[in-house]
């Protein structure tokens, strides 16, 4: 095999996946580019994304993976495509990488051991045990809006249900929850002017990290002296290879759980509400037999939303992928929305089909070792939230256009007004 070209000599693909304009556009606009790449150039080399968090002279660009089959392959070749150098496609300063990405940016063997520690809190049996709590949180949130008749769905519903559920599991008391929600949002939202309120991204992100670390450290200290039945206590007491986790490790896992636990399901819930407004026939089909049809509807909402748009890997060695020569150190970026719209796998992906079955979407990952730990939690939350909304506020609908956030990671909705006939709580 001939040696792969280094990132320096390799020509960039003419399709634009890197500009601010591309990421500030709509999902439908991006799909036009993805469709062309899926058809003609499934593994393509692109220039670095515009407006990075900091100037990284080493950053030469990235490979874009857009087909479903190739995304699954990259996910599963975890010894060729590593996570330890970062999982978002912007280069990150080391302190942010360590503080914010937790075990999602670890490779085996350490990943295997840490992941298993946390798995016990997410087993199907444990999920069944907290089901009542998930339903109660959905009810509490809908109670909070029922009398109002018009609210911002993102801040008053979509953000709150996952926040309370993940905080219940990890063991975060009420007084810290809104702070965490606000700070965690910046991690995915730093490219968005509306989220940032004009603040400089890097210093503000570092500040958010410090705020989260401070809360994590305080709670960790409390759990050491007063153990509870929660995930944070499990982390404090855990031993890996005969050693306790360090405070910095625990804080980093805490941050990951908070970010992954709040921001993803929030986006799916918001996109789901918009989809139910835009496709009234599908909504009628769902509500005609809500309990029986919710499971497939939730899968389709998660595909439709694709709450995380990209994850990055880094090539561990020179290797081949779908006929392309990848060089050691190259960034390889997987585009989940592109894979979820792949017509090789999905019949009419542009149609919301709440009865779609099978529905092998990759919104929780392509089945590799970093497959979403919280996938069952997410499914249960979405089912509980939509059951509560559609039963108690049957005419709830989106008014006007949502404002979408600009960024390369979360498929974010900043604000979205909904209106409904007010109900007594």
């Amino acid at each position: 095999m001939t040696a792969p070209l280094s990132g320096l000599d390799r020509p960039y693909d003419p399709a634009d996946l890197s500009s601010h304009a591309f990421w500030a556009g709509t999902a439908a606009d991006r799909e036009v580019v993805f469709a062309e790449l899926r058809r003609d150039r499934p593994v393509s080399w692109h220039q670095p994304v515009e407006g990075p968090l900091f100037d990284d002279p080493e950053d030469r660009g990235f490979w874009a993976i857009v087909r479903h089959a190739d995304l699954v392959e990259v996910t599963r070749r975890h010894t060729d495509f590593l996570s330890g150098q970062g999982i978002v496609f912007d280069s990150m300063p080391a302190e942010l990488l360590e503080a914010g990405q937790g075990f999602i940016a670890l490779d085996p063997p350490r990943h295997t051991k840490i992941r298993r520690l946390l798995t016990s809190a997410f087993t199907p049996r444990q999920m069944a045990r907290i089901q009542d709590r998930i339903v109660a949180n959905a009810r509490r949130v809908v109670d909070g809006i029922a009398e109002k008749g018009e609210v911002d769905f993102v801040s008053d519903v979509a953000a709150l249900v996952p926040l309370h559920n993940v905080c219940d599991m990890v063991g975060v008391p009420e007084e810290h929850r809104l702070t965490i929600l606000h700070e965690a949002e910046l991690v995915g939202g730093w490219r968005d002017a509306e989220v940032m309120h004009g603040q400089e991204p890097l210093p503000r992100l570092l500040q958010a990290t410090v705020t989260m670390l401070t809360i994590a450290m305080e709670l960790t200290e409390q759990r050491r002296s007063h153990p509870e039945d929660d995930l944070l206590t499990a982390l404090v007491q855990a031993e890996v290879d005969g050693e306790r986790l360090t405070d910095a490790e625990i804080a980093s896992f805490f941050n990951l759980l908070m970010i992954a636990g709040t921001d993803t399901t929030r986006q799916s819930t918001s996109h789901g509400m918009k989809a139910l407004t835009d496709f009234p026939d599908q909504r009628d089909w769902l509500t005609a037999d809500l309990d029986a049809r919710l499971p497939s509807a939730v899968e389709e909402v998660v595909r439709w939303a694709t709450p995380i748009m990209t994850f990055r890997r880094t090539a561990a060695r020179d290797c081949e992928l779908a006929g392309q020569q990848i060089a050691q150190g190259d960034k390889v970026v997987m585009f989940y929305a592109a894979a979820n719209w792949d017509t090789e796998v999905f019949d009419h992906p542009e149609r919301l089909d709440l009865s779609r079955s099978p529905n092998p979407h990759v919104s929780f990952g392509g089945g590799g070792i970093h497959h979403c730990l919280g996938n069952q939690l997410a499914r249960r939350q979405l089912a509980a939230t939509f059951a509560e909304l559609l039963t108690r506020l049957p005419d709830i609908h989106v008014v006007g256009e949502p404002t979408y956030s600009s960024g390369t990671f979360f498929h974010g909705v900043n604000a979205m007004t909904v209106r409904f006939t007010p109900q007594a709580r």
Partner: protein, 63 residues
């Protein structure tokens, strides 16, 4: 049909459990248990699928 499970490689992702829940289970302690290490022939297609789907290669079918 006999399943071999390599505990050192297993990350307890539970992908096998979602495919063949009568054969595999991620237990309370986060470790994978084989509920049925010698499943009936009628389960072969499902077990094959579960073994193939394991991203860490922790599962193997012997005879």
């Amino acid at each position: 049909m006999r399943i071999r499970h390599d505990d050192a490689r297993c990350a307890s992702l539970g992908i096998c459990e979602t495919i063949a829940p009568t054969v595999f289970e991620v237990a309370e302690d986060g470790a994978l248990r084989l509920l049925d290490p010698t499943p009936d022939e009628s389960l072969r297609a499902l077990v094959d699928e579960a073994v193939a789907a394991c991203p860490t290669g922790a599962l193997r079918l012997v005879d």
